[in-house]
């Protein structure tokens, strides 16, 4: 039976691991690029790897940008993952200055040159604010990252987790019904599965997620 969880399929990356993570937790997600499907969803996961510009083009082409903005305003629980976090911001500096969904005000910037890029591997997430998305996850737990850009929200109060890689960047944000991570929970072992579990509990429980 459908769980009402829709993974947005706009051609960006490895969806199979996200699907498998949800199945392991006992939920059968739908994978869709259909705005009607997303309009009916109880929760949406916006995954993604790759570049911001082409991803935005794809979301626009599929008529998903407006649907996502509208549904988030209507309090649809949404989880952005990796590029999915960056796409929520106002704009990205990747490939010039490309407007993004504008759901969370702020900019996406390149990681400092001093470190190797991509920032690839397991790094710690410091829980700078308590949030139910961290239930059962210890502070400074390791998650798997692969990215060259990071998001800088205008309003620092939405930053609930940070990670150090030359700079301290926002690795988990939470703003009302929107939660997003720069790391890949589906690649982060048991801790990552717990993160998805927490999101689904928040989304399905109808709590202030």
């Amino acid at each position: 039976m459908s769980s009402g969880i829709v993974i947005v399929d706009y051609g960006a990356g490895n969806l199979r691991s996200v699907i498998n993570a949800l199945r392991t937790l006992g939920h059968e997600p739908e994978v869709s690029a259909d705005p009607r499907q997303i309009a009916l969803a109880r929760a949406v996961i916006l995954p993604g790897v790759g570049a911001g510009g082409p991803a935005m083009e794809e979301l626009d082409k599929l008529n998903l940008s407006d649907t996502l903005r509208r549904r988030v305003q209507q309090k649809l629980p949404l989880l952005g993952v990796c590029l999915g976090l960056q796409l929520l911001m106002s704009a990205t500096e990747e490939g010039g200055l490309v407007p993004c969904l504008g759901i969370v005000p702020g900019l996406v910037k390149k990681l400092p040159e001093e470190g190797k890029t991509p920032h690839m591997g397991w790094n710690q997430v410091k829980q700078v604010k308590p949030h139910p998305i961290f239930d059962g996850i210890p502070d400074n737990a390791n998650f798997y990252f692969v990215h060259s850009y990071y998001a800088e929200p205008e309003n620092s109060s939405v930053v609930v987790g940070t990670t150090d890689y030359g700079i301290n960047f926002c690795s988990v944000l939470a703003s009302g019904n929107v939660i997003a991570t720069q790391f890949h929970p589906e690649k982060s072992g048991a801790t990552g599965l717990k993160f998805y579990d927490n999101f689904i509990k928040l989304a399905m429980g109808g709590q202030a997620c």
Partner: protein, 254 residues
Amino acid sequence: MLTRRIIPCLDVKQGRVVKGTSFVKLKDAGDPVELADYYYKAGADELVFLDITATPEGRQTMASVVERISEKVFMPLTVGGGLRSIEDIHRLLRAGADKVSLNTSAVMNQRLISDGAERFGSQCMVVAIDAKKNEGAVPWWQVYVSSGQQPVELDAVDWARRAVALGAGEILLTSMDADGHRAGYDIELTRAISEAVNVPVIASGGAGTLEDLYLALAEGKADAVLAASIFHYGVHTVAEAKEYLAKKGVPVRF
């Protein structure tokens, strides 16, 4: 702080893991899915699968193996061996691989790196370099392709730089001199490549002791170490390796 990664490597032939893994108490120690799960639970940070079948049928089998692994192993998977086209790469990424590793095909068809990076992102394009020291008036490391059988007129350090410029997001570096001897990684080569490029470098070939892992990371400046026999033959567990490295001050994930 970003931790250094420990990456067991599994050679797969026609869907079966080859090389000794008999120490592992599994129903079927040749089953890549069971072994992947074993290493996932043992705390490995990533896994690399090299398909040594290198035929179209082998690639198809590998894709279905990756599909089954990704159902229960929630950690990064890199797959290499005989990938020649964008379609080969796409099939494995769709199956659940996070990265693909290109070796011979990257040398022979350099556009495959840039085309792959453009289509799928640099983060999933690993270029594997097999290098052997060429002693002469000025020693250098020569690149070999076709499973180390074929020397090519490429300097490994130059090739690493070029591969990154084309879009490689990671370099998997194997010293052919050290490989199989369990007498330590080629530290000099590892450091030369690590310092030449601004993407992560995985050191491979020669791990025999835990100190070898440490030296590749600390002196070779590698971001990750790949090892096969040290883990497969049960000489050490991944956890032992991490405890050793942590005591030496290397950041690792537990």
